[in-house]
């Protein structure tokens, strides 16, 4: 189909100019700078810079602290995506069963979406801080040595809980939409064949939700990688030790706190490559999603 259009020649440039300008100044220029900076090394006083090729990348990738950050990020992302998706799917399946009250449950379950990640982290810290957290209190009564500010595993547990909690709303809404899109006739046919509700779920509903689940897996991965910076920064500051230092947190820390510009830039470039990979994956997959549609 040929699109009907206006004949103006200058007007479209004026319309597109603001977005173009902002993209160039705040996206492309800094991205190019990051690429360039990642090949430079600056001396301790910032007086002299030398071109070092890929040395920054070699250094970053051989740095145990960076490898630790990769490991932390992988564990954090997988567990966050798993918990928030599992809880959301379970609740969405329950919401499909009830006739009355759906609206009410949805209204409550979307609250966390509106809470800033950093505040989500602080809320969980309020509840679980060792000095006056009401939920830390029973743990201590049971004789558990609870202090997420000193114990790395407990710190990780706390940030995962906060990050998963925040993402339940989003996943819930998508699973509800996914469940509604499944043709009822398929489920009826299985019921006629005598499949019980559990069997119907695992053999029909769950596989048909695969497009939704894959989509959410990518979205949750991106969320855990990037949007959770606030949680980490507000709750643990990457600590204790480096137990919760994720890749994004390390870019920030090395760039702004430790002032290792070359290393921070190289890390930025690596992150860029990860985002590009994830986005490409997502768009390939979205094509498929439309076919299922």
């Amino acid at each position: 189909m040929n699109r009907a259009t206006f004949p103006h020649r200058v007007l479209p440039w004026l319309l597109i100019a603001p977005q173009l300008l902002i993209s160039l100044v705040f996206f492309y220029w800094p991205a190019v700078q990051a690429l360039w900076q990642s090949t430079l090394r600056e001396d301790a006083f910032g007086l002299k810079t030398t071109f070092v090729g890929l040395a920054n990348f070699r250094k970053v990738l051989a740095d145990p602290a960076y490898l630790n950050a990769i490991q932390v990020t992988v564990v954090f992302s997988i567990l966050t995506a798993f918990f928030s998706m599992a809880v959301a799917l379970f609740l969405a399946v329950q919401a499909e069963k009830v006739v009355r009250g759906k609206g009410f449950y949805r209204t409550v379950l979307i609250w966390p979406y509106a809470v800033a990640p950093a505040i989500a982290g602080m809320l969980w810290l309020f509840m679980f801080n060792p000095s006056f957290g009401s939920l830390a209190w029973p743990l201590k009564q049971m004789g558990i040595d609870w202090d997420p500010l000193l114990n790395g595993k407990q710190a990780m547990g706390l940030v995962i809980a906060a990050a998963s909690w925040k993402q339940i709303s989003y996943n819930f809404l998508f699973f509800v939409a996914g469940l509604q899109a499944i043709p009822k006739s398929l489920i009826e046919a299985a019921a006629i064949d005598g499949a019980g509700s559990r069997r119907r779920f695992w053999t029909i509903v769950f596989p048909l939700l695969a497009p939704t689940s894959f989509f959410l897996l990518v979205v949750n991965g991106v969320y855990a990688l990037f949007d959770t910076f606030g949680i980490i920064h507000a709750v643990t500051g990457g600590g204790p030790g480096k137990a919760t230092e994720t890749l994004v947190y390390k870019v920030y820390n090395d760039g702004f706190v430790n002032l290792q510009l070359g290393s921070s830039a190289a890390q930025s470039v690596i992150l860029m490559a990860i985002v590009i990979g994830l986005t490409a994956f997502q768009f390939r997959f979205i094509e498929r999603r439309v076919h299922y549609g």
């Binding site: 705040f26 069963k97 949805r106 409550v108 979307i110 509106a114 969980w124 910076f229 870019v251 985002v275």
Partner: protein, 287 residues
């Protein structure tokens, strides 16, 4: 109804589902309820766990103290200023994004000009450059442009959005050719076509996007953290983070809890009150 009996849950199944949902809702709502309850208790009660699960008698006193300068004393800037800053940033990002992405989508769909598709791709690729991957160089640009500690600095770098442009482009492409042709026969130029036809048709999309972007703006963290040095320019989320110190025995936690409630309430209200558009927008527009 017969259909419902066959595949729908049995009566006992429905009751179980309700129980699970109530449990889920309680768990999900609890952190927010907890801080709301904490904001109504005295500092002494908060510091002596476990916290009572029902609101306490100090609500009026805490909120009065917090709003009448208490937050200003611990945060270094008045609560009005914090809420004003955050509102300006959230509205600026939401409205700014909607305007510039509608304009660019309008240009790409309803005009023909050289390099049109190249421009489209140029916008599209920004999707792969979130602020987190270019923090330091973007910060340097801000310094060179003297945008540190300004509203422009807080808003501008966040209002270019490929997602919103893609959404509007997709929607504009569903507008039938006949509408544009009829409008042009009637002598309507680009502005009148936009105002009288396109804008009313886009109302639902704009409302949906507005909720999502307002939340996005209100909950920003990394960017405001970087481009504000002065307390005067803090958003409430950043200010709250600065107030919290578990090492400091003198932290007035009852005031911190009030601040947390004030930081959470506006976006939650927007999501709940505009739920219909929000849910539609989120599920249908998300890429």
């Amino acid at each position: 109804m017969a259909e419902h009996d066959m595949v729908g849950a049995s009566r006992s199944g429905r009751i179980a589902a309700h129980l699970f949902l109530i449990l889920g809702a309680v768990v999900v709502a609890f952190p927010i309820y907890y801080v709301a309850v904490a904001s109504t208790h005295s500092l002494q009660t908060i510091l002596r766990p476990p916290l009572p699960l029902i609101p306490g008698p100090e609500a009026y006193q805490n909120y009065h103290e917090a709003l009448a300068g208490g937050i200003g004393r611990i945060g270094g800037v008045s609560v009005d200023r914090l809420l004003l800053n955050t509102t300006i940033v959230a509205l600026g990002i939401a409205v700014g994004k909607i305007i510039i992405s509608m304009a660019s989508a309008y240009a790409i769909v309803f005009f023909r000009f050289p390099l049109r598709m190249a421009m489209f791709w140029l916008i599209f690729i920004t999707l792969m450059l979130p602020v987190e991957v270019r923090i330091l160089p973007t910060y340097k640009v801000m310094v060179q442009l003297h945008l540190i500690d300004t509203y422009a600095g807080l808003i501008l770098p966040l209002i270019a959005s490929a997602t919103a442009t893609l959404l509007f482009r997709q929607f504009f492409m569903t507008i039938p050719n006949e509408l544009l042709e009829a409008a042009r026969v009637d002598g309507a130029g680009p502005w009148r076509f936009f105002r009288d036809i396109l804008l009313p048709l886009s109302a639902t999309n704009i409302a949906a996007l507005f909720v999502i972007l307002f939340i996005y703006g209100w909950t920003q963290y990394l960017w405001p953290l970087l481009v504000t040095n002065s307390n005067e320019m803090n958003t409430i989320v950043i200010a709250l983070r600065k107030m919290i110190s578990f090492a400091d025995a003198d932290t007035p936690w009852h005031l911190v809890m009030v601040t947390a409630v004030l930081a959470i309430l506006p976006p939650v209200l927007i999501v709940v009150l505009m739920q219909r558009w929000f849910v539609k927008g989120l599920v249908e527009t998300e890429k």
